[in-house]
């Protein structure tokens, strides 16, 4: 976990780790040669300025009624009470989670397969990998505008492929609208995760494969018994990125579906935008924002617990 320059000499490390923890695994000791807290200052200042201060302000704003024109007016918990009774709020949280889960479920297998493939030494691999990487270089907004045009029912692909798309009413039905959102996100973000897995797959020691081959394991068995277990930490990293990305999805919804049909794709982040910039009800929007922070924190705590991310055991043990 620590970088080489920050690693204290082995003797000190053993001393520092003598607080009952198993030696060798603790990078969290407070050894004398660890950098002082001053080094953390720049990051801390930026974090405070751009994350903590706004968060506190938003929390304060969530207790007020403000239209952006006059002075904010303190209304206590009114916005919160209203939100708890609001069916759209609950639905939006559920939709956010649904989109996130679908995103993880689709992007993870795809990017693992692509990443492991890209880690190999096949012909044309480098060229194809570079092409796969392109969507990641585009802005989410541009990608959404592009797909909106491609999926236009009268002038896009659906008009030419009625056998697949029917009447092309992709944005008018909840299931297909969600399908489009998941697909477009996957199209854009799979390359990022592919990259993570490519790097991780390259780092798997070749001796493991050599040993497996001697034991007679084929490609498929090697994949399931060596590659996948070796990718464990990368899978967790990539999933956390996906969950964070999924819960903060916004542009794709704004451009592709605008939360429609009805409120059928109104995810929490978009609902917050609607309240703030369509209805000019910044108080309620702030309350949604705070709620989103709470939900996201809760989900990431659960993930850290379940995945053992906090411990992040090495996959290199025993080698």
């Amino acid at each position: 976990m620590t970088t080489t320059s920050l690693t204290p000499p082995a003797t000190q490390r053993r001393q520092a780790a003598s607080g009952g923890r198993p030696p060798g695994r603790s990078g969290t000791g407070t050894g004398a040669s660890r950098p002082g807290s001053a080094w953390a200052a720049p990051a801390a200042v930026f974090f405070a300025l751009f994350a903590l201060v706004p968060l506190v302000l938003v929390a304060a704003l969530s207790l007020s009624s403000w239209d952006g024109l006059s002075e904010p007016e303190f209304v206590g918990l009114d916005n919160w009470k209203k939100l708890l009774d609001d069916p759209v709020m609950l639905k939006s949280l559920w939709l956010s989670v649904l989109l996130t889960v679908l995103g993880v479920a689709i992007q993870t297998p795809l990017s693992i397969l692509l990443g492991v493939w890209a880690a190999g030494h096949q012909r044309n691999r480098a060229v194809l990998s570079a092409i796969y990487f392109v969507p990641l270089l585009l802005s989410a907004t541009a990608v959404s505008v592009l797909w909106r045009a491609v999926l236009d029912p009268n002038f896009g692909v659906p008009a030419q492929a009625a056998w697949l798309f029917g009447d092309g009413n992709l944005f008018g039905v909840q299931s297909s609208a969600i399908g489009v959102l998941v697909f477009v996100s996957a199209w854009q973000f799979t390359p990022l995760h592919t990259l993570i897995y490519q790097g991780a797959a390259r780092a798997v020691p070749q001796v493991l494969y050599q040993a497996a081959r001697i034991d007679g394991a084929g490609t498929v068995r090697q994949f399931f018994h060596i590659t996948l277990p070796q990718l464990r930490n990368s899978i967790i990293t990539s999933m956390i990125l996906m969950v964070v990305g999924g819960l903060t999805t916004f542009e794709t919804v704004l451009i592709l579906t605008q939360g429609g049909p009805g409120t059928d794709t109104t995810i929490s982040a978009f609902y917050m935008y609607q309240q703030a910039f369509k209805s000019f009800d910044y108080g309620t929007a702030s309350a949604i924002g705070v709620l989103l922070v709470l939900v996201a924190t809760f989900i990431s705590l659960i993930m850290v617990r379940l995945s053992g991310y906090g411990k992040m055991r090495s996959t290199m043990e025993g080698l």
């Binding site: 045009a149 236009d152 910039f277």
Partner: protein, 434 residues
């Protein structure tokens, strides 16, 4: 979006700005206070009409010491961005709006300059406009807006060639329309193009049917806070008629994926894939811009069909009564602003607006109607507006901003079957009023 998105896409805000800067090269500095750039900023909705505004500002800058700069915000984002900047340092001096409800919150927040002093100095600022239009930007007895651009009634546009091929005439009554829908559907044409993805085009059908069936009184009552207005027999009859139209297949099945703002529905009409489109009069300029040949030869138009036994006058209109320029209190160049506003009733401005298919509401408009891009269209519209006993402002502009999202959702869900009559009525009753 609460506001009409007229014909975005075609706007080129950045290009407009660059052009303005190059045009306002000479003239020298004026004694402006620090912090501001010594110019008056005019913020308008970005669309095809911008070319008139550019020309107007270029003319203004030829003679004025204080230069004007045109800023545009494209299409659907206008109101959101306006409200975000209007109380900040980036606020413009003069801005485009829809009068009435759209500026009421700004007036209440004390941001706008009453124009009564300007009018006292130059009575033309009031007298040169049709009073019914001028008055829709009067709030609490004070004038806050000078009409600009034109009046925009909603009309039933059609593709004349498609109608001819199907042996259908421009419908005069509701029955005509239903018959035309059946015939066109049998021909394999989508009878009516609808940009349901934008939602406000859907609203137009509700507005006209409610007006024709129940008269303008129902909506006025509802807006005044009488929730029972929505439950009347007229309300149910209008909804039933709309349901009939949807069930007859008038809009096809994928209208919720079609938008007006990305040129979807106008292109359907121009290509002959659809026969009708109910749209504000800006449809004309949109088509002129993107399908000039179609606009010239095959674009048909008429008033909304009459409804037999309905309470509303068949001459009633719905749509945008007009757009307005309002002035911020904090402007540092009130004299220049007043001079700029005077241009809005100049002959030159009227002619330029007519040239792009807009219909200004100045008293001198009538004598220039023959110079319009399409004199027939200009005369037709002008007569409609002049004779209309009632001109209902679009519901999404009449209601407070915070009602818009819920209203749009109810419209969309009623049309696609997600809400029945009772559900729709309940949703409308739940909307906040002023």
């Amino acid at each position: 979006m609460r506001r009409r998105a007229r014909f975005p896409r075609s706007s080129a805000g950045g290009a407009a700005l660059a052009l303005m800067l190059s045009l306002s090269a000479c003239g020298g500095g004026t004694g402006s206070a620090g912090g501001d750039d010594g110019k008056i900023h005019v913020l308008v909705y970005g669309d095809a009409t911008n070319k008139v505004e550019k020309q107007l500002i270029a003319d203004f800058n030829k003679t004025s010491d204080v230069k004007a700069v045109l800023d545009t915000i494209p299409g659907a984002d206008y109101q959101a961005k306006l409200q975000t900047i209007i109380n900040s340092k980036q606020a413009p001096d003069i801005f485009f709006n829809w009068g009435g409800g759209s500026i009421k919150p700004f007036v209440e927040a004390g941001l706008l300059l009453p124009l009564d002093d300007f009018i006292a100095k130059d009575p033309g600022l009031k007298k040169k406009f049709l009073p019914s239009v001028f008055n829709s930007a009067v709030v609490d007895g004070k004038a806050y807006g000078i009409p600009m651009r034109g009046t925009q009634p909603v009309l039933l546009f059609s593709n004349k060639k498609v109608l001819k091929d199907a042996g259908v005439r421009q419908p005069e009554t509701w029955e005509d329309l239903l018959a035309a829908v059946r015939k066109l559907k049998a021909e394999g044409v989508t009878p009516i193009a609808l940009g349901g993805g934008d939602k406000w085009p859907t609203l137009m059908w509700f507005e006209y049917l409610y007006d024709r069936v129940a008269g303008p009184g129902l909506f006025r009552k509802a807006l005044d806070g009488d929730k029972d207005a929505w439950t009347g027999a007229g309300s149910r009859k209008a909804l039933g008629m709309l349901r009939d139209l949807v069930d007859a297949g008038a809009f096809g099945t994928n209208y919720d994926s079609v938008k007006f703002t990305d040129q979807g529905s106008p292109t359907l009409l121009a290509n002959g894939k659809a026969a009708f489109e109910l749209m504000g009069s800006w449809e004309y300029a949109t088509q002129q811009d993107s399908h000039p040949e179609f606009a010239e030869k095959n674009l048909g138009y008429s008033a909304f069909p009459t409804v037999e036994g309905g309470k509303g006058d068949p001459r009633n209109l719905v749509g945008n009564t007009n757009n307005f320029y309002s002035v911020l209190k904090k402007t540092k160049h009130p004299e220049a602003v007043a001079e700029f506003l005077k241009l809005q009733y100049s002959d030159k401005f009227v002619k330029a607006q007519l040239g792009v298919g807009n219909l200004p509401t100045t008293t001198n408009t009538e004598k220039f109607l023959d110079t319009a891009a399409s004199p027939h269209f200009a005369h037709f519209q002008y007569d409609l507006v002049k004779k209309a006993p009632a001109f209902q402002l679009s519901w999404d502009q009449a209601y407070p901003q915070k009602a818009t999202t819920s209203m749009y959702q109810a419209l969309q869900r009623f049309l696609n079957g997600g809400l029945d009559e009772d559900g729709f009525i309940k949703a409308m009753q739940a909307l906040p009023t002023f």
